[in-house]
Symmetry: C2
Subunit: 239 residues, 2 copies
């Protein structure tokens, strides 16, 4: 039961979303059913790092994690691509739970697998119009129903690049009022590992998103966050 893995790295910290700041390891799976225009991990689906994909068992993955950080982690983030493409991730998830490791997953909300019920920190991040993708609300609600049924907690996160994205987020938040809701400022500066004045540019965009959120009565319950890893390390891969 092998799964396609593109990167395993850490220990580092989760720079965004509901568990922002959490010390964690990352396991990045290959393959995605989306092709977002501004994807910051295009190498997971555009074929550019195809030769780096390793087919790994749960044991292989833990061997890699332990080689990097034996005894120095208790939280693993499964990222993609879209990890929900992989039914076979159940082996890894079960093994992690048996080791008392907390797990986080982020997915766009297009696919469901039963192992999602074992994930501690589930982030569903539907993609706004600027991505070029179109949300299938039927699929999204199927996932919510499955998670609700099993008492699995989850949150919604939307990345914001422009006005249309903000309106999309407001609409999504209105529809699913009881789900914890995160706004994240988009990073449009993806040209290279290091971008001139990247931190300054991102903080300026973050401030705009903060201002907009503070002035919008539809957004009273939300949390609005930057990507901390990008503030520290720009677009560097593997940190």
């Amino acid at each position: 039961m092998k799964i396609p893995v593109l990167e395993i790295f850490g220990p580092t910290f989760q720079g965004e979303g509901a568990v922002i700041g959490q010390k964690t390891m990352f396991v990045r799976t290959a393959g995605c059913d989306y092709q977002c225009s501004w994807c910051d991990s295009k190498f997971t689906w555009d074929g550019s790092q195809k030769e780096n994909i390793r087919m790994m068992t749960a044991e292989d993955i833990f061997a890699s994690l332990d080689a990097l950080a034996k005894d120095n982690y208790s939280h693993v983030t499964i990222s993609g691509g879209n990890p929900l493409l992989l039914k076979n991730l159940s082996d890894f998830v079960e093994k992690a739970k048996s080791k008392n490791i907390r797990l986080a997953v982020e997915t766009q909300g297009t696919m469901y697998q039963d192992w999602l019920q074992m994930i501690d920190d589930v982030t569903i991040s539907p993609k706004p119009p600027s991505s070029g993708m179109v949300t299938d609300y039927g699929k999204l609600e199927h996932i919510f129903a499955k998670l609700d049924e099993s008492g699995t907690s989850y949150n919604l996160k939307v990345v914001i690049f422009d006005d249309a994205d903000f309106e999309y987020a407001a609409d999504l938040h209105r529809k699913y009022r009881d789900v914890a809701f995160y706004l994240q400022v988009g990073n449009p500066y993806l040209d290279g590992e290091s971008v001139d004045n990247h931190t300054e540019k991102l903080l300026s965009r973050y401030e705009d998103l903060v201002d907009r959120t503070m002035n919008d009565k539809r957004m009273n319950e939300v949390r609005v966050l930057p990507q901390l890893h990008t503030l520290l390390w720009s677009n560097k891969q593997g940190v």
Copy 2:
């Protein structure tokens, strides 16, 4: 039943801790039983803004909040000083709950009041050695016991300036293993509203704290965060 208030402002966002990013209003009470060397709100206890203290009822406070942001908030952060000095805050807390407003409080863990059980987001932030204050673990555990007894959830946060602070945090985390634990990078640059290259200096300190946490097996479960408001706005008061 009036309480001493120094600032009411918002809507803005919570820049730190467990509810980082949350859209919120701030109510800052006057008075503290601590005098931390690096306190970023010394004006709440050093007498320098004594003439700005307003004695306010719960109704007065809501009138101020609504004047600033009618219908544009559903979360209020009670900050200080140490709000736990104020038994009479119960009026405000009850009124807020009757309005379905979520409440957050941060306190150093020296005092308890029954209204703390009605707070949604309780942060206990004992002060490390660099503050010049000494933790009374008996008082801290009394508060934990009261909160546990009533099923109130809470988290621990420690601000880190130096090695001794980090060791203090590691010890605290070891003692109270089941309590969600946050490390926050200290801001030693408090000289004036705006500090030269403040963001850069703070991010560099944050990166150091991240590195140290990533390399320390005692810290596998923790979350490590900066103060986002300071990254955006330096030391400006009232934002």
